[in-house]
């Protein structure tokens, strides 16, 4: 029996490369640090990367494939994070699984994880085809990740349409890779533009941060080592909001200080 309180959250975007896997890894660590038993499930069987971002790629013995075929127990396939033992990864299986995997299989895996964890985070593949639909079947709620770019927002809209038609809710938005300077110059879609267009509540706002690349190089999510960088703070806040805590969102225009920023704000004043 799955615990009734377990939250099954799909992390998806439609477009690739907007930060789904990075969010899954960081959110997983942040939730674990806050004391929640958290499982991250790599549902991107074709191009798996969650193991790499978590630094667990060398510790995989079994995967979701062996769990499904019952050639190992769930506990044997789960890779526990050494520094954050509240977090475990269920690695994606062989890409050939895509040929036979069904939505039922994903539901089965999610239900098994639900017996042991408070949160099951499902890292969806890009696209809206079979792989995504399998991943969606295992989720009750969703986080849509997008960046303030036309292609990412358009693809996010398609995904939201599918989530709505499957009755997945609530659906919340994480706006990733925000560049305050470009927004101030009105050369990037404003936060309200994106939330208005997609009509979703904003769960988090993550500034563009070079430290993200450094952390993926090392296989150590930013949330693992304190909140030193802007992106780390943003991911930690996403986790706190998921847990029901009221944490105010940052205002990108306040992130810049000094005369240039003041002039930038003045230039945005609506005249008519």
């Amino acid at each position: 029996m799955a615990a009734a309180s377990t939250r099954y959250i799909l992390i998806c975007s439609g477009k690739g490369g907007v930060g789904k896997t990075t969010l899954t890894a960081n959110l997983g660590i942040a939730l674990a640090k806050q004391g929640a038993r958290t499982a991250v499930l790599d549902a991107d069987f074709g191009l798996r990367n969650l193991d790499l971002l978590l630094g667990l790629e060398n510790r995989i013995v079994y995967t979701a494939q062996e769990v499904l075929s019952e050639s190992c127990r769930l506990e044997q396939a789960l890779v526990k994070h050494k520094q954050e033992p509240n977090l475990a990864l269920l690695p994606a299986g062989n890409p050939r699984m895509l040929e036979w995997l069904q939505p039922d299989d994903m539901q089965k895996i999610a239900a098994m994880l639900g017996e042991h964890f408070d949160y099951v985070l499902i890292d969806a593949p890009a696209g809206i085809e079979g792989g995504f639909k399998n991943a969606m079947a295992a989720a009750r709620e969703a986080i849509v990740v997008t960046t303030p770019e036309v292609s990412a927002v358009r693809d996010a809209d398609r995904v939201i349409g599918l989530l709505n038609s499957e009755g997945v809710k609530p659906i919340q938005l994480v706006l990733n890779r925000v560049r305050p300077k470009m927004m101030a110059n009105q050369e990037m879609l404003a936060v309200t533009d994106v939330t208005d267009i997609l009509a979703l509540p904003l769960l988090g706002l993550v500034l563009e941060d070079e430290q993200v690349i450094v952390s993926t190089n090392r296989g150590e999510p930013l949330t693992l080592n304190g909140n030193g960088s802007p992106a780390a703070r943003a991911y930690t806040n996403v986790a706190r909001r998921l847990q029901g805590e009221e944490v105010p969102l940052i205002d990108p225009s306040k992130e810049r200080q000094g005369l240039r920023a003041t002039i930038g704000r003045l230039m945005q004043t609506k005249l008519f």
């Binding site: 533009d193 230039m267 004043t269 005249l271």
Partner: protein, 104 residues
């Protein structure tokens, strides 16, 4: 329009791109969400104008039939300025045809 837009206009510079992005997105999403391709929309627009112009004289230059979208609801918005009502009433056979279309 913001102060930046005014300055850009005075200097003959291109307007900031965020607004362009927003407008393009709203248009493309209205089409995506309704699953109407531009060709079909064009055909519908022609037929709507045809029906309306049987009853009133409309300004075809100013007239506009578009998809608009707000809060994930897409609406077909027709803005058809009327020059004047047509004096001779529409041919009797036009009315049943219109009803048949509406109920199908």
């Amino acid at each position: 329009m913001t102060l930046r837009d005014v300055i850009n206009k005075l200097l003959g510079r291109q307007p900031a791109s965020a607004n362009t992005a927003k407008e393009r997105l709203q248009l493309v999403l209205a089409h995506d969400r309704s699953d109407l391709n531009p060709e079909l929309l064009q055909q519908m627009r022609r037929e709507i104008l045809e029906v309306v112009s049987r009853y009133v004289e409309i300004d075809l230059e100013e007239g506009d039939v578009t998809l608009e979208t707000e809060d994930r609801v897409t609406a077909l918005v027709a803005n058809l300025p009327i020059r004047r009502a047509k004096l001779p009433p529409p041919a009797p056979e036009a009315t049943p045809a219109l009803e048949a279309n509406a109920s199908s």
